[in-house]
Point group: C2
Chain length 457, copies 2
């Protein structure tokens, strides 16, 4: 039966890609109010597609964007698998850097000569959601497990309504294990299980000085300049060893185990390859850690945006009334995101000159997570990956955040298998995002194998 | 005869304002390529208006924006006065902060109940140029001096073609003294002669790290973040005493004289009033100097714009490939602008991490200037101001820059009388720029008195 499922998947590569392209055309940018109707349309399109695989699907409205829940016919005495994904996407800006438009999916060879589909959302997360939709379709109504799909529309803007939804519908969503495909292979052809994610604390900082923009000749040097102040505040967040200076920032951090450090040193990614992959001569960060250790297991702080004053062509000699920065901190177990947010605000308030105003807006809080590597579910997932890709999977952690993993553990009491098919060069969150077509195919096979294997849970 | 001139001016207040509004409607934004035709049209409109006052006027094309030169009939044996002004204006952004549109002049009462005309360029510099046009008109062809008007269209973007023009036309422009109205009264009703201006060195700094935008989860903490690096570089430009840290920055600075410090302490502007005027609890800057001393006589550094990463609504977890800042330094005699630029670049290059790229673009270089206060021309100007405004003028320096003053001294060998009619709350370079209507009237009278008085030079 499984052979027939895999054969079906192999025979449907073109149709799968065609439908994925339809999925990608919808500009479901959840963080922008002007795309709200596109996001809603995308949810309805997806629910309709899922119904055609044999599941029933419902589009649940929320006070934000809708949530899609789909199920096969649940039978007692067999495991229930909850699949989570998101149909919303990051904003496409900056538009002028896309080779083909962000919402006009284009199939072409990537820089290494491999076929890929290029579009915003190609890998994050629509392409990977599509692996599961096609995998389920291939069972032709005969899945060996109970499946519940939970696909939301606000992941890229903080999942503001998901917590309440999962709490209110805990019974609808109950399961034995969760599966999420929104992470990476270690490298092309080296599939992976991800057992750790970083958390996130995303803040926006606003500094206001004079109550209107000033002429920098008439006032320069005699008034506080919010742009200069903001730079000083941001600069104060790191020391020369690349450590974040916020008091207490590292207090609750679970240190890397020597076992992890030894294993990761054997991974097939040198420091030179890492730096070359992003076009820099060498990486840098917290002293005493490798690039992999820094991005998988250490807490960090990055500016995501800077805004002040005149940004057009040429010169304007202005002291702008305001300056702002978007700053995100990636957290590891067991840092407490709310404590980190409070410490961040206090550190900056303490250093802020008394003749300017500082204000904060929070855009997202989630803790780092570690899932147990030795569990039966992880073992079955490793088998599914080995067959699906023909290679033993790498066991890795991930620098990014998937807050829903913590939510699902807390409310539904289950662990999550992070089995993703993206590649490090997919340009997630960047112009020219892509999804490797071989990953689409092998990912669909692997998802099907996973549903089959998990019947033995 | 002078009474008849002043009576004419008093009787033409409405007509003068109506024509000034026509002048203000033309969006002559010199720094924006898309307004190039508006700038040209403005030059032609102005030349036409000047011809109607009895002068001949020529619009000289340059490789940039045109320059207007106008003259009455020059007779030997009497002084020649060169009047300089500019018909171009600053960009209006941010547009959403204007009460009425920047290029739709509106007459209304300001926050203190005084009538003013609101538009971009109202005081800087069209309103003040208009004082001179109307003053000249009121002589009905019988000016007692030779007058040459030199009105350019690139002052707000660095006067890139003015130096060559003045050098090539030194004979056409030769004069005994120059007059510029592009500065302020000390306060409303307290007219001023300005005897010192700061210079300018305007730089743009670009930091590039990874060769494309990155996902801040996947890479955060392991790669150099250009936005964080830029903040560190900008922060390194000041110490905690408010001094600029660039090596050699203060080497050539002519210190304030004790006489100046004593005089300025008597000016009717307290630290509380200064701070209240810009909506801050108190000013700050270089330790050991008052607000007036800082802005008139000390060199300073300000950020005019910050740009990096995502600047839209909400959150985007990106490490942007690039970050940039616009930075201007105000200079005092005898700092050498080219030395300052080189020292600025070296300071930042030395501190720039070796795994990011840093690049610089220059947008303007001019030295600080001091003009002799005891000269006959300044004495005559003081008399003109005292009659025109009914109050003895304040003798002050100015924090802003008018690079042409140094050029005129260097090429034409003459000093400049800086007799301006703006007010500190005119919001120069800011939204809701205005020109006080009483200043328009008294400024026109004063300009006429100045041409009359300078006949005795």
């Amino acid at each position: 039966m499984l052979d027939r499922v895999l054969d079906t998947i192999d025979s449907r590569k073109d149709q799968s890609l065609a439908l994925l392209k339809d999925f990608l055309r919808i500009p479901s940018v959840s963080t922008k109010p002007e795309n709200a109707n596109d996001v809603k349309h995308c949810a309805e399109w997806l629910a309709d597609q899922i119904r055609q695989t044999g599941l029933s699907a419902t589009v649940y409205p929320t006070d934000g964007h809708p949530i899609v829940v789909a199920k096969n016919s649940h039978q007692p005495g067999r495991p229930t698998v909850l699949m989570y994904g998101h149909y919303d996407v990051q904003p496409p800006e900056p538009l002028d850097l896309w080779t083909t438009p962000a919402f006009e999916p284009d199939v072409r060879k990537d820089e290494n000569g491999f076929d890929a589909v290029y579009a915003r959302g190609a890998v994050d997360d629509k392409g990977q959601v599509w692996c599961h939709v096609e995998a389920i379709r291939a069972f032709a109504g005969n899945l060996p497990v109970n499946v519940t799909m939970l696909i939301e529309g606000e992941e890229e803007c903080g999942s503001g309504h998901l917590d309440a939804f999962v709490e209110q519908h805990a019974d609808l969503l109950k399961a034995d294990v969760c599966v999420i495909s929104d992470t990476n292979q270690f490298a092309r052809g080296l599939p992976a299980i991800t057992y750790g994610l970083r958390g996130l604390c995303y803040m926006e900082v606003f500094v206001t000085g004079p109550d209107h923009d000033l002429h920098s000749g008439m006032y320069g040097g005699a008034v506080p300049n919010p742009a200069n102040v903001l730079c000083q505040l941001i600069a104060s967040l790191h020391d020369t060893d690349g450590r974040v200076t916020i008091p207490g920032f590292y207090d609750d951090v679970v240190p890397l185990s020597q076992e992890e450090r030894d294993q990761w040193k054997k991974l097939p990614l040198t420091e030179e390859q890492f730096a070359a992959g992003v076009g820099i001569p060498f990486g840098n960060g917290e002293v005493g850690f490798t690039s992999i250790e820094r991005k998988w297991a250490r807490p960090t702080l990055d500016v995501n945006g800077l805004t002040s004053g005149y940004q057009g062509v040429g010169a304007k000699t202005v002291i702008a009334s305001k300056a702002s920065a978007k700053v995100s901190m990636r957290l590891v177990p067991k840092q407490d995101p709310a404590k980190i947010r409070a410490a961040f605000e206090k550190h900056l308030r303490d250093r802020c000159p008394k003749n300017v105003k500082i204000e904060f807006v929070g855009h997202g809080l989630s803790p780092g997570v570690l899932t147990p590597v030795e569990s039966p579910a992880v073992q079955l997932a490793r088998e599914a990956l080995e067959i699906g890709f023909g290679v033993k999977p790498t066991i890795m952690r991930e620098g990014g955040s998937i807050p829903v993993v913590g939510l699902i553990k807390k409310v539904l009491g289950i662990d999550t298998l992070l089995v993703g098919f993206g590649l490090p060069d997919d340009r997630v969150h960047s112009p020219n995002e892509k999804f490797d077509l071989d990953a689409l195919h092998k990912g669909t096979r692997t998802a099907a194998l996973l549903y089959a294997k998990l019947a033995s849970l």
